[in-house]
């Protein structure tokens, strides 16, 4: 209960930070007053410009951060459960490599243009899903196909897609190379309400499915044969869970690029705090991941303002010490 309360409190604080902190300083209470005024309580004291900054720049960015953090964390936790592997993360089956290749094709294709084309997310999304589909086709068939086969297929597909991406990059100009690189590092800078509404349905559906799979993943912790003998349709559960995690991750990655670390480390932090049951790990990872990513993004966009740190770098710099501290306070447990 303590952990749940603390996580929800952190989530609220993260949301406030996401709205309040920025290059234009606006008093916290006035921002909160403005939020309440939108709910029909009281009157806003913000100027139109300030309101614009809050609602057109910071709010969509904060919401996209919440969605990305929640999705990546719950997908990572789900993958760790379904593969019974502590090193599993949402990019395990090739989502990252596929999205990377898709984005690279989109960006290098336009040669000398100075902007990343608007259809980059679409190609990234398609690439991500294609990579997972190929992985599943190679490694996921057959009643007794093991998760090890699937992971190896994921490794193979990821290397194939990555090498294709490297080849394209090597053939491309330095400017487009830089833009590919920036895209790959992940950022919430291009967040808008339209990108939020684009990924929202995927994230909501996929997060709900992943969280609902908690009980099934707990059963799976005794291994595939045993969980089958306990009545679990292992293959179907695995397929549903992998499709949900991958689809949600692909949607997020296409919107914000590759943000590392959240998917692997947040579920582990939560596991250390609440134990090994996925019925607890997954819902708390949703809130924890969301709060964590919004905090990380607040740091990313303020430390070197007006320029930004890559979000993936911040998640690792902030996440690693947090993880080490919790690890040293608690006895480590395998998933």
């Amino acid at each position: 209960m303590l952990v749940v309360g603390a996580t929800l409190a952190a989530l609220v604080v993260a949301m406030v930070c996401g709205l309040v902190i920025g290059p234009t300083s606006i008093a916290t209470m006035r921002v909160i007053g403005d939020v309440f005024s939108h709910l029909g309580l009281g009157h806003s004291t913000l100027t139109p410009t300030q309101s614009e900054i809050i609602w057109q720049l910071r709010a969509p960015r904060m919401v996209l951060g919440l969605l990305a953090g929640a999705m990546l964390a719950v997908a990572g936790g789900t993958y760790q459960g379904v593969f019974r592997n502590p090193l599993a993360d949402p990019y395990l089956l090739g989502v990252a490599a596929g999205a990377g290749l898709g984005a690279t094709i989109a960006i290098v294709d336009v040669g000398g243009a100075v902007v990343t084309p608007s259809w980059t997310p679409i190609l990234a999304f398609v690439g991500a899903l294609l990579a997972v589909a190929v992985t599943w086709a190679i490694g996921g068939r057959g009643l007794r196909s093991s998760t090890a086969t699937l992971i190896l297929a994921g490794v193979a597909v990821a290397s194939l897609f990555t090498s294709a991406q490297t080849f394209l990059q090597q053939q491309s100009s330095t400017t487009s190379l830089a833009r590919v690189y920036i895209w790959l590092l992940g950022s919430l800078a291009s967040a808008s309400w339209s990108s939020v509404t684009l990924v929202l349905p995927y994230v909501v559906v996929c997060v709900v499915i992943c969280v609902a799979a908690g009980r099934a993943l707990d059963v799976m912790s005794v291994g595939e044969d045993e969980s089958r003998s306990l009545g679990l349709p292992v293959r179907r559960v695995r397929l549903i869970v992998i499709v949900a995690s991958s689809l949600g991750t692909a949607a997020i990655v296409s919107a914000v690029g590759l943000i590392g670390f959240v998917g692997i480390i947040v579920p582990h932090i939560v596991r250390l705090l609440v134990g090994t049951s996925y019925r607890r790990i997954l819902p708390i990872s949703v809130a924890f991941g969301a709060a964590f990513l919004v905090f990380a993004d607040t740091i990313a966009r303020t430390v070197l303002a007006p320029s930004e740190l890559p979000l993936g770098v911040v998640t690792a710099i902030v996440g690693a010490p947090v993880f080490v501290i919790i690890l040293s306070l608690r006895r480590p447990m395998a998933p």
Binding site: S221, G223, L230, G231, L232, P233, V237
Partner: protein, 257 residues
């Protein structure tokens, strides 16, 4: 009425034939133990009966229903499995572990019902595990752990239980304890048991019937006393065996030359 019916069963893995043309039937409320040397196909046989392996030929029926036609949930409601090397999940309590046996009843999206919780409580009580209920499964001794795995299988409340070497790695006292618990379920509750055992003396003492497998074929099927004294048994192991009657129990001893 026979509870387990195996008819002309063959199982292949790639080009290897693991068991071929095995037929046997086990009456409801009786205990049948499969014996035979390593590689005889004992594990394959019990796994196929439990529906965890597909047969290449032949059929397995449980109370008249084909195992291969059932889905996982239907199977879990009819046959419980105690595997040879159960996976012990980290960080789970004994109570939660035993509750996994009720999965097929409450499903994957709902919490265990009051009836499920009552059943788990009963089983824990019956197997003297109540005091361990809150303990982490990883902290149990070998004997306690095996009792817990048996409890999970009993929580499934099936009419058939399949056990693969359920007493491996246990000391003598714990071996007898597990087998007596099981015998009690057979006698008191009418459970049908199909087990594999390496210890021929214990196999003979606790089963109503022994089935001898060798190289994937059924060699002998009969009452325990007859099978342990048979010429075929010694031949399958390639050893001279002597059977001594100790207070009415057959003790099988290998003779060394």
């Amino acid at each position: 009425m026979s509870s387990i019916e195996v008819l002309g069963l063959s199982v292949r893995a790639g080009s290897a034939t693991l068991i071929s043309d095995v037929s046997l039937s086990v009456d409801a409320g009786t205990w049948c133990t499969v014996i035979g040397p390593n590689g005889a196909g004992k594990t394959t046989l019990v796994e196929t009966v439990a529906g965890l392996r597909r047969s290449s030929h032949g059929t397995v029926t449980l109370s008249g229903e084909s195992v291969s036609a059932m889905n996982e949930r239907q199977r879990a409601l009819r046959v419980a499995v105690v595997p040879q090397h159960p996976t012990i999940p980290f960080g789970m309590s004994v109570h939660d572990y035993v509750s996994l046996g009720r999965t097929a009843y409450h499903g994957l999206l709902r919490a265990p019902s009051a009836a499920d919780r009552r059943c788990v409580g009963d089983v824990l009580e019956r197997l003297s595990l109540t005091e361990f209920a809150a303990r982490d499964v990883a902290t149990l001794s070998g004997g306690e752990r095996q009792r817990m795995v048996l409890a999970r299988a009993l929580a499934q409340a099936t009419t058939v239980m399949v056990l693969d070497e359920p007493i491996t790695g246990l000391d003598l006292r714990h071996q007898i304890a597990i087998l007596e618990l099981l015998q009690n379920e057979v006698r008191e509750c009418g459970l049908t048991v199909l087990a594999t055992l390496h210890d021929l003396t214990l196999a003979g003492q606790f089963a109503d019937r022994l089935v001898l497998l060798d190289q994937g074929r059924l060699v002998l099927d009969g009452p325990s006393g007859e099978v342990v004294r048979s010429r075929e048994l010694a031949e399958c192991y390639g050893m001279e065996l002597r059977v001594i009657d100790v207070d009415g129990a057959d003790v099988v001893i290998p003779v060394r030359h």
